[in-house]
């Protein structure tokens, strides 16, 4: 008996479902960053607003990367519902705290898919995920650096104005 499902699709139904979940997660991240960009803009933090606009765009690209991979492997990519995005924040600092939380949860979820693929010996998808593991290194680094500015500069006086200015300059350029 031939393995007809394997002929149709390189990825298993379980991996396909996990990848679709990740599509949704990246779409949610993109929407969260967009809301953060709006909040920062409304409250006078222009550099941070630009930073979050860029992040939102990146998350959209991540979403499409997963989406196209599922289709290329013969799976069914599902366009996600994204609802319930928080629009208001209590403070400038809270925005960055939640940005880091979001990135950590993305890293965790990619680790989860990676573990499943290892179990199935789906090395092809593992190799695809490697790009994302490296990307998460940068994403968490940047989010952490931004939060550190609150400690180093302090929020008193013109502190928040200074912090905002420095957020625009956060870069990760490790060659490793």
């Amino acid at each position: 008996m031939k393995d007809l499902i394997r002929i149709k699709s390189l990825i298993s139904a379980e991996v396909e479902a996990l990848l679709n979940q990740q599509v949704k997660k990246e779409a949610t991240s993109s929407s969260i960053y967009l809301a953060m960009a709006s909040w920062c803009n409304r409250n006078g933090y222009d550099f941070s607003s630009d930073y979050f606009f860029k992040q939102a765009e990146e998350e959209r690209q991540h979403q499409l990367k997963f989406y196209k991979y599922i289709l290329d492997m013969g799976g069914n990519a599902i366009s996600p519902d994204v609802t319930g995005i928080k629009q208001e924040y209590n403070s400038f600092r809270e925005v960055f705290e939640e940005a880091l939380d979001q990135e950590i949860s993305v890293t965790q979820s990619i680790k989860n898919i990676y573990a499943r693929c290892l179990k199935e010996q789906d090395f092809v998808t593992n190799e695809f995920l490697n790009w994302f593991l490296k990307e998460q290194r940068e994403e968490e680094y940047k989010a952490r650096r931004a939060l550190e500015l609150f400690e180093v500069i302090g929020e008193e006086g013109t502190g928040r104005w200074q912090i905002d200015k420095h957020v625009g300059g956060i870069k990760y350029d490790s060659e490793a």
Partner: protein, 123 residues
């Protein structure tokens, strides 16, 4: 693509995937499809439609239907989008079909594991 057959397909070219007292699923390698023999008919399913059938059957909340004490008839219509094919089943038939599909997908997965291990080595 789903086709209902009036006569049984040539059983010789089919492999048994899974069967119970209530029905069976056969695989046809040549046509790359499955035949579901259930509720008095044999229907042909390709991969996408078989997945849709599975989803439709698994989505029926059997427990809720069992607890439902209203006088509605316990008939469920399994309509599969983009496949011109429908099952009209009683609750007992749903349970029976679910059992067959569960067994079928376990066997298909087992086949996947075997094939994956067997044909990985260059011959």
């Amino acid at each position: 693509m789903v086709t209902t057959l009036t006569t049984n397909p040539q059983i010789s070219t089919l492999s048994d995937v899974f069967s119970t007292q209530n029905g069976a699923v056969y695989q046809c390698d040549a046509e790359r499809c499955w035949y579901v023999d259930f509720a008095g008919k044999v229907a042909k399913f390709d991969y996408r439609c078989l997945l849709k059938l599975k989803k439709a059957v698994y989505n029926v909340d059997i427990e809720a239907k069992l607890l439902d004490s209203s006088k509605k008839p316990d008939i469920e219509i399994i309509f599969i989008c983009a496949c011109d094919h429908t099952y009209i089943l009683t609750l007992l038939q749903i349970i029976a079909l679910k059992e067959i599909l569960e067994g079928t997908f376990v066997m298909l997965q087992l086949n996947n594991i075997i094939q994956d291990r067997l044909y990985r080595v260059a011959l």
